[in-house]
Amino acid sequence: MKFEIGKIKPMNTHIQNKKSIKKFLLTLLLFIFIFQISNLKSNEVFAQQITLSISPPLTEAVIKPGKSILVAYTVSNIGDPVVLSSGVRPFVPQGQFGDLIVEEEFSGPIRFNLENSNIKLSDSFFLPTRQGQQLLLKIRVPEGTPEGDYYYTFFVKNEPGNFLEGATSSQATAVVGSNILITVTESGLVDVQGGIGQFGVIPKYQLTFLGKKFSFFESTDTIPIVLVLNNKGKNLIKPYGTIDLKGNFGERAEFDLIPQNILSQSSRMVIATPSAQLSDVQSSVNLSGFFVGKYTLNTSLNFGIGTENLTSTMSFYAIPFKVIIATFVALAIGILLVKKIGKEE
């Protein structure tokens, strides 16, 4: 009897196990089914992300009237599939920090067209995710174009999608641009009329004495230097030169100017390297260290081979206010302690 029970028991266990596995599999299938349904439903509405890149970011060209050039741009789509179109608009520089405004309407004598066989300017084209499209932009300067500079932005933009039904909404259009700086010249010679507009420090403290302004800093302050260059000519120019710092204890430092473009009839604050604007203050270069005494800043620059060398000099003073105050406090405490101990004795 015991033997029989012992024989039947494993069989029952086996059947029970089979049932459990069946139940588990059914539950699993049900979960997968529900997950798939909910997933399909959640995919019905999704945010469309646009991520576009353009290369090269800047094109500079010096062209004779009657000539044309071809520039190959690569547009890449890193976001969702998108319908794009391209175009060219003139831009005008704004302010001293390299800002610009792209105009809404095309103007100017320069002619642009795409040399791609299947895409024209302002035509729509589809770009799938993680795909790139080369756009061959032909820039033609017609005969008789007046000498001077012409500034344009070549851009691609996504076509706005459909508005949401029954809701107040707006559609965002992403426009990514690349600037084109064109100098038209017959002879190859350009009009260089650059000058120093401003050279100095942004002082933390300023003192006016006998009509002269003196700039002061605390010894541990970061010292922002500003160099603004003007271009009164009809062609863009680039500065080449340095900003030099000399201290009264023989310290010296030299910073090279980055040859950024200063467009025709505009001003620009140029940046010196190595530097970075780590503060809110817009500056050409930020000096940091421990400064004591009088320092002289000198800039020497030109706008290319054969152009006049321009110089400007200024000075500032650094005083260790914090050290002086700390010393006075320490002295005062020390004297008090000495006096107190002396009295006790």
Binding site: I69, A174, N286, E345
Partner: protein, 251 residues
Amino acid sequence: MIAKTLLKKIFFGLVVVFYTLFLIVYATPVYAQRINSSGYTIIFPNVNFSAGNPSSAGYDLSTTVGQLAAKQFSSSGYIVKAGFQYLHSIIPFTFSISDISIDLGSLTPDTPSTATTTLTVTFGGAGQYQVTAVEVGPLTTLSGGDTIPDTSCNGGAQTCTESSAHVWTSSTAYGFGYNMSGNDIPADFVNSTYYRPFADSTAPENPVTVMSNSNITESSISTVTFKANVSNIQPAGSYQTVIKFVATPSF
């Protein structure tokens, strides 16, 4: 008396030691702040192997050997330089909008409705850029008959303009506007209650800068919050407009 003299000596000794230590700690050489992040440091941001400006009577070609992205060539009658001549990055100028469909939903009178989208600019080491924004007309019904005007914020002393943000918290101040938060945004967006109306290209008004950086940029991210509030006399309907965000590198 001896103790007093000793104390004085100790005190002045301490002052001398303090001064010496201070000078040792702080007397570092003068240097300019360097471009760096957790991911990189650029000491001299030009990574060419060589560079020069060869020229002849017929042409002028500036070469930058060793770069990957910027190229240039010359020929009779023209010179072309592609890319920044002083800085060459392999990361292209990239602009991203997280969601191009900004749904303000069904508007309820005196109850502001908001929606957000994120703008991202990536620019390797090549530096300066800007993003401008402009609306193609105010929020308008499909028939074009009714509009939700651009906001003036709370009005009075708290009136905002296309280029100057101000507080918009009143539920009886109506209109359509936006707030910015994150990197490289205009300083007048003091906090999330500060709004501006969009510049209107049909007015016509110039686009307004909403993100800019005149410095080296790796990745800048900002959030645009759109807000609309209507009165109970606003005609019913679906109001729509297009907002154009233009991202351009500097020159």
